[in-house]
């Protein structure tokens, strides 16, 4: 039986982890490679790096991080943030990323998704959708949540599936950072519309939220950052909890 995945996400800026695991025995708390290794040894089903490097001159730092991580972690590695072109995707894949997540570029021009999925295969193209509820619909935001594209998130999800995306990483901007749980309504609506797997993101504050994302939101995978980083819960604790709720996970 296919297991639901737990994906810890690390924010990386100028090659350093911004928010990360706060363990005393960490040699270098800012080293993304070391943190990714801790997660993969601890049972993470996949690792996600979100590159939030702002300046263009430091953008290349992520390539080294990916290169080093892929030599040490033998679980899938997804990298997103600032991916603009086929060339960016190619570079990340060559450095050892298994999947690349595309956000703003996919909104600007869906051909990036179409072309990259043809060239590299749908299996490595994840479209990251940042959605915020305005009135009675969810709209897609770009540039790290700063700009409203005005696009309807549900229609956009369908369009991305049709363009060849292999997975959708859906983040509720209303919930992100709140620790009150995923936007289940949003997850459920999108996952019932598309036939590709959905990764739920944004709002996890406790283990029950992970269970809700899978059971109620129909997500195939759940992504979380802060509950794992500050030692509040380990990945294995999360898995044991989900298992106790009858949710299939890899233990």
């Amino acid at each position: 039986m296919l297991k639901n995945r737990i994906i810890p996400c690390l924010d990386v800026k100028n090659g350093r982890v911004v928010k990360g695991i706060n363990f005393v025995d960490l040699q270098d708390a800012g080293d993304p490679v070391e943190q990714a290794k801790i997660y993969s040894d601890g049972g993470a089903d996949e690792i996600c790096f979100l590159d939030i490097t702002a300046s263009n001159e430091n953008r290349d730092t992520i390539y080294n991080v990916v290169k080093e991580t892929s030599k040490k972690c033998f679980v899938p590695l997804t990298v997103g943030g600032g991916v603009r072109s086929i060339e960016d995707i190619n570079k990340l894949l060559n450095c050892g990323a298994d999947k690349v997540s595309i956000n703003t570029a996919a909104v600007k021009d869906s051909n990036v998704v179409l072309e990259s999925s043809k060239k590299f295969g749908s299996q490595c193209i994840v479209v990251a959708i940042d959605a915020k509820k305005n009135g009675d619909k969810w709209e897609v935001y770009t540039h790290g949540g700063r700009n409203n594209s005005g696009l309807d998130a549900l229609e956009f999800s369908k369009k991305m599936e049709d363009s060849g995306a292999g997975e959708l990483l859906v983040t509720s901007m209303d919930r992100d950072g709140t620790q009150i749980g995923y936007d289940i309504d949003l997850m459920k609506k999108i996952s019932s519309m598309v036939n590709i797997p959905l990764i739920a993101s944004g709002g996890v504050g406790n283990l029950d939220h992970l269970a809700e994302g899978i059971k109620d939101g129909n997500a195939s995978a759940v992504l979380a950052a802060s509950i794992f980083h500050y030692g509040k819960h380990s990945v294995i604790e999360a898995k044991e909890y989900l298992n106790s709720k009858g949710i299939p996970v890899r233990i």
Binding site: M1, F74, G96, G121, Q123, G166
Partner: protein, 208 residues
């Protein structure tokens, strides 16, 4: 021992390279190549594959003499070859992804889309799934039945002869996820991304 990973410019093979380099610990001379001479002098070959069946076959065919060399390696010299993902799928006679495409024909069968039962099951089949080992295969040495492996695919290999199947995995149907026919080995899952169990399989292939 000389092991070659076929680099035919189809998809991302850095993870495959990394996993073999991690495991080999100086035991093996690893080449990442599409050079006919180098492949000819190899003891073992790994054939990765990402993207569509058609794009992988087209990429193999675009390198002059490559398919002939692989055919000879497998069918005449009878040396061990491991196909991963689409690398395994290409063993078939024919694939139906994008359009009907002739495969390498090493193991009789076809590659078609996984039956997702009218949308009941998501495709691609992505994530960790348990393998049911149905036949003793040398590449499963010290790997327990029902171990988890990492999958990502929408198409499946359906061999004509069930005897070549060494493992299946349960999704919408029983999906063939590993085959063995004499010197030919293949996994639909990605050992290079399946953590310690996957690395064990890599190790088993190296030690064949």
């Amino acid at each position: 021992m000389k092991l070659s990973i076929v680099d035919y410019k189809s998809g991302n093979i850095s993870s495959v390279i990394n996993s073999f380099k991690k495991v080999e610990k100086d035991k093996v001379n690893i080449e990442v190549t599409a050079d006919i001479k180098k492949l000819n002098s190899s003891d073992k070959i790994v054939l990765p594959g990402q993207g569509s069946f058609k794009s992988c076959i087209d990429a193999l065919n675009s390198i002059s003499g490559l398919v002939d060399t692989l055919n000879e390696f497998v069918n005449v010299k009878k040396k061990p070859l491991l196909g991963i993902c689409v690398g395994l799928q290409m063993f078939a006679d024919v694939g139906y992804e994008e359009t009907e495409t002739k495969g390498l024909g090493w193991i009789s069968g076809k590659v078609s889309k996984i039956d997702n039962q009218g949308g009941k099951y998501k495709l691609p089949h992505i994530g960790w799934n348990e393998i049911n080992i149905v036949k003793d295969s040398k590449i499963f040495k010290s790997i327990e039945n029902n171990s988890h492996m990492y999958f990502v695919h929408s198409y499946e290999f359906i061999p004509n002869d069930n005897k070549v199947i060494s493992a299946t995995t349960d999704y919408s149907t029983k999906v063939v996820c590993s085959v063995e026919k004499e010197n030919i080995f293949g996994t639909q899952f990605h050992p290079e991304k399946s953590d310690k169990t996957g690395l064990k399989l890599v190790d088993n292939f190296i030690n064949l």
